[in-house]
């Protein structure tokens, strides 16, 4: 029974590469070290939702065709289009993205990745302010203060805390796992006592812990690593934290700016900011200044709530200011496993991380004008190629409507809403499971994706499909040149 060690998990931006798989008769039967998302990917990759045959829409129905026919049809659509959109990319390999960029340049289209609807505002802010950051190992070894802002790693990046931050063992800082366990145990005991009290007195007793404390919790002053969670609701991650700051929805910007003022030793002449008493904030600011190495991670709670890139401006400025007092880093919690990689490849080939327009024969970048949603909303595209993404189910309705109105090519391993609306649907092998590739972790560390099982018969990688389409497009264009 062969085991495969050190497999990289192609699910989230954590890109855990210590997964151990057991293969039996060409199938994955056991996953070790992975989180729930990882297990379901490796064990359930071959279910009913997989596409198996290339499809072309004929008379309104998707019918099975050969790969060559589908590739030819896709190439025709792209070669004839004036302004095609090539979108997706964050869930495929860097190798495929390289070819995708070449294809976009060849057909003079606009190419965009999912950053545009996710951490796009973060990129815009970084272009204004810069970013003091590091790799995740640096946080593991050194951070004695970890802040999660507007993200819920416990659910969305389940191994982030365990592998890289508070619960990992580093050279200079140790894991807080045991402290968390005893805290959880204490909570269980507390609940039992509360229940018992209820039984004895048979009426409502005041809870032992009122929801809003008047004093900062004593955990904030403990030795060792501390973890703070800032969010609009009490998430699982918040339960894990030493301190949870509940910010009022859409008021993150105020809170960040208040902290900036406090870090600069300014007085705040109000009682509370964004629903948080200033006395607490003063403790937090003090903690930030006193720590040896702080790390702030932020998610879509910050990038996609009111203020968008202005929130990130404030967060980046706060961390930059803190660096004059101590060492502090900040990092966006990237979602898809290779969204960092697509930003990276886009940047080295074109100079810009997303929303790149090739219609003038050179790369042009102006998010808001050349980004996927805006191009669709203005109704400018006349064809689309979607790779490893599902914009129909998550783009604004009007954008999605324009997307499906025009010829739509979909390359994806799975049946999704976009694939069901497609005119040409080409199934691909799953990168990181059935074919190899490269992906970039959220901190820009490149990791190899392994091939662990054979792909279903007839399926090839995104990269190969794109290569075929590119060479067909070039043939068609060369033919046209000869004609004219």
């Amino acid at each position: 029974m062969p085991h495969i060690e050190a497999v990289t998990c192609p699910v989230c931006g954590c890109l855990c590469d210590d997964i151990r798989l057991r293969i039996e008769a060409g199938k994955i039967v056991e996953v070790k070290n992975g989180c729930a998302m990882c297990e379901s990917k490796f064990l359930g990759y071959c279910g009913e939702h997989r596409l198996s045959k290339p499809l072309i829409r004929k008379n309104g129905e998707l019918v099975e065709v050969s790969l060559n026919e589908a590739v030819k049809k896709a190439a025709e659509i792209l070669a004839e289009a004036n302004y095609p959109l090539l979108y997706g990319w964050s869930s495929t390999s860097c190798e495929a993205i390289r070819i995708g960029l070449e294809l976009a340049e060849e057909v003079g289209g606009v190419i965009d990745n999912t950053s545009t609807v996710c951490h796009g505002p973060s990129v815009l802010s970084i272009q204004d302010i810069g970013i003091p950051s590091c790799t995740l190992g640096q946080v593991r070894h050194r951070a004695d203060l970890v802040i999660y802002w507007g993200c819920d790693p416990w659910s969305a990046h389940p191994r982030h805390i365990e592998r890289y931050t508070s619960f990992s063992d580093g050279r200079f800082e140790k894991s807080e796992w045991k402290g968390y366990l005893s805290k959880t145990k204490a909570l269980i005991v507390k609940k039992k006592i509360e229940k018992a009290l209820k039984r004895v007195f048979a009426r409502e007793t005041p809870s032992l812990s009122p929801h809003v404390r008047r004093e900062p919790p004593p955990t904030l002053f403990k030795e060792g690593r501390k973890m703070i969670v800032v969010d609009v609701r009490r998430t699982r991650s918040a339960e894990t934290a030493d301190y949870f700051i509940q910010v009022e929805p859409n008021r993150d910007y105020e809170l960040l700016e208040a902290l900036r003022l406090l870090v600069r030793d300014e007085e705040l002449e109000v009682e509370e900011v964004a629903g948080v008493p200033v006395a607490y904030l003063e403790e937090v600011a003090d903690l930030m200044i006193r720590c040896n190495f702080g790390a702030l991670f932020f998610g879509l709670g910050l990038t996609m709530s009111r203020g968008k890139m202005r929130n990130i401006d404030a967060a980046l400025s706060l961390i930059r200011d803190l660096n004059t007092r101590t060492k502090f880093t900040i990092m966006p919690m990237r979602g898809h496993f290779n969204v960092s990689g697509s930003d990276t490849v886009f940047t080295w080939q074109t100079g810009y991380p997303y929303a790149v327009d090739f219609s003038l024969c050179y790369p042009r970048y102006n998010p808001g004008e050349t980004s996927a949603v805006d191009v669709l909303l203005r109704g400018e595209t006349d064809a689309s190629l979607i790779v490893a993404s599902d914009p129909v189910s998550n783009f604004p309705r009007k954008a999605a409507e324009h997307l499906v109105k025009n010829p739509l090519i979909v390359i994806d391993p799975h049946v999704n809403a976009t694939a069901q609306m497609g005119d040409v649907v080409i199934p691909s092998a799953l990168v990181g499971v059935e074919v190899e590739g490269t992906a970039y972790r959220m901190d820009h560390v490149p990791l190899p994706l392994k091939k662990v099982v054979e792909p279903p018969e007839g399926l090839i990688s995104d990269e190969e499909i794109l290569r075929k389409i590119l060479s067909e497009v070039r043939k068609i264009k060369a033919g046209k040149m000869e004609e004219s």
Binding site: E5, A6, I126, P353, V445
Partner: protein, 559 residues
């Protein structure tokens, strides 16, 4: 290729009419006259293809610089043509554009000087996308925990074996040290300020790191010396640190081969106590170099333009951010290194910037032996590599220097040594500084010369050295070096009259260091790996599939 005026310093050819025959990408004695394709280059300068010993063209920090600065690209874009890919400039060009722009100036080999080992795959992926030039890259090893630990134990041989493993697994070419000790200290926001500062948490000083790794370099027989970015870089008064560093490795100067290469030396040649009293330490450094042969340096020339500074020297970049208030990126890499990026504009009217400009040229002119100093801008730190023709003009013509001197800050002008220097470099010396010397320092046997067996990398510039007085007609020379008449890469004409004719891929060279017994990955090594890094041992090395054209250079080590 016939009738050209050839400058080939490694073979002692100084402006003679020599015909060059090329076959299968190599230079050969002769080819059959009637079957070969002939290029007549009468009245033109023929040199080996340019070699750049230090230019940041690929990898995570370069790419983050690209991402950080859309404003750098907006005004400088290149359209797709039937043979070339599109791209953007200016100070941090996209990959394809980088290759084309180097080739247009007759350069065919470029060394990427800083690669965080953990992100080596990224560097190699980008190098694959840089066409027309051969490349190699240096892993950053000065603050790697293995280095600090083995050196504090005094275990040089074991360290040498690990460095060999590291160079093989990152597909690197030389040992790069940046601000030794400073980067580890920067992990907690500190820095070191002298060669004898204790590095926090490790019982070791910068001095010991430099000497230790120079010893390792000798033990491993690496073709290039240790490539060193000194401590205190960019601080007034730092020429003392540079001199102290050079003196300290004197004891290793036991043979012909240099022990250390001090890179972008201009940034390490400041006198004075602060920015107001800043002065040039070029004279002292040049004096030292003229008397010793165990050190080579490159210029790190400053160009008056808007550029993007990027180094692995995190604390230095933070200082630059505090100085300028410009946007700032920091990127620390676990157990290995750090990096920083700050956009920067060198102004003629700034005293400090103009002084820096002067220091670079003073170094190049005061060091008598051109084999010891090479032309670079530390691209993009001093300015983009596309400014090389400007530097050439300043080096070959006093008139060109005078013209620029007139425009710079008056205080800097009055303190500059340049008016007192009459030296004007010959084309022969220029060929040393831009190709032959660099190839020799790098130990590249097939590059930087036009002898039989060398790679057929040739640059032709349309200027007649017999009819042109470079001292007076420096503008003509500058124009010629900006757009090569021909660039030949591996026997193929890739550029003609400054236009790219072909998109061919360049190779990536790396050292295959062979130690006496193969490196064994023990359980202990794997355990340390898990503790030190956040990736598994198996996923760390750069495998062959990451190099599109891989050119291993075997090296036999003494351990």
């Amino acid at each position: 290729m016939s009738n050209g005026v050839v400058f080939d310093p490694l073979n002692g050819i100084d402006g003679e009419k020599v015909d060059i025959a090329v076959k299968d990408g190599k230079i050969v004695k002769s080819v059959s006259e009637h079957r070969a394709k002939k290029i007549d280059v009468a009245g033109m300068i023929v040199m080996p293809g340019g070699v750049d010993i230090h230019s940041h063209i690929a990898g995570s920090e370069v790419n983050t610089g690209r991402l950080l600065r859309p404003e750098d690209h907006f005004k400088d874009s290149e359209c797709k043509t039937s043979v070339t890919r599109s791209g953007v400039g200016y100070s941090i060009p996209s990959t394809f554009t980088t290759g084309y722009r180097y080739a247009r100036m007759g350069y065919t080999t470029v060394m990427n000087p800083s690669m965080p080992p953990l992100e080596a795959k990224h560097t190699h992926e980008e190098l694959n996308d840089i066409p027309l030039i051969d490349k190699a890259t240096y892993p950053l090893l000065g603050d790697w925990w293995f280095v600090l630990e083995y050196l504090s134990q005094g275990n040089i041989e074991e360290l040498a074996r690990h460095v060999a493993w590291m160079i093989n697994s990152t597909k690197g070419y030389a040992i790069k040290i940046v601000n030794p000790g400073g980067l580890e200290s920067w992990g907690f926001g500190h820095n070191v300020t002298s060669l004898d500062d204790q590095i926090p948490h490790f019982c070791i000083t910068p001095r010991e790191i430099i000497l230790g790794l120079c010893r390792v370099n000798k033990l491993l027989n690496l073709p290039h010396s240790v490539h060193l970015h000194t401590n205190n870089l960019g601080k007034p008064g730092n020429y003392k640190t540079a001199l102290e560093t050079m003196k300290y490795v004197e004891e290793l100067a036991n043979d012909e081969k240099p022990a250390v290469h001090i890179t972008h030396c201009q940034f390490s040649a400041f006198t004075g106590d602060d920015w107001r009293t800043l002065g040039s330490g070029a004279e002292e450094i040049a004096k030292y170099l003229n008397g010793h042969s165990h050190v080579t340096i490159d210029m790190g020339q400053v160009i008056f333009t808007d550029t993007t500074t990027m180094t692995a020297d995190g604390p230095f970049q933070f200082g630059l951010y505090e100085l300028t208030g410009n946007k700032w990126v920091n990127h620390d890499v676990e157990t290995e290194t750090s990096a920083g990026i700050v956009p920067f504009r060198y102004r003629k009217k700034s005293f400090a910037h103009a002084t820096q400009w002067s220091i670079g040229l003073e170094l190049a002119l005061l060091v008598k032996d051109s084999w010891k100093i090479y032309m670079t801008t530390d691209h993009p730190n001093g300015g983009p590599f596309t400014a090389y023709p400007k530097i050439i003009a300043w080096l070959i013509s006093k008139k060109a220097r005078k013209a620029t001197l007139k425009k710079i800050n008056p205080k800097a002008r009055s303190r500059s040594l340049l008016p007192s220097i009459d030296r004007e470099l010959s084309f022969y010396e220029l060929a040393i500084m831009t190709r032959a010397g660099q190839a020799k320092a790098l130990g590249l046997k097939h590059k930087g010369h036009l002898g039989v067996g060398a790679d057929a990398d040739i640059a032709v510039y349309n200027v007649n050295p017999h009819k042109t007085d470079p001292s007076k007609e420096y503008k003509k020379v500058r124009k010629a070096f900006k757009r090569a008449a021909y660039t030949i890469k591996g026997g193929k004409v890739v550029v003609k009259n400054g236009e790219v004719l072909k998109h061919v891929e360049g190779a990536t060279m790396w050292l295959d260091v062979k130690i006496s017994e193969p490196f064994k990955v023990t359980a202990d090594m794997k355990r340390r790996f898990r503790e030190y890094w956040t990736v598994e041992y198996e996923n760390y090395p750069v495998t062959d599939r990451y190099l599109e054209i891989s050119q291993p250079i075997p090296v036999k080590a003494e351990v």
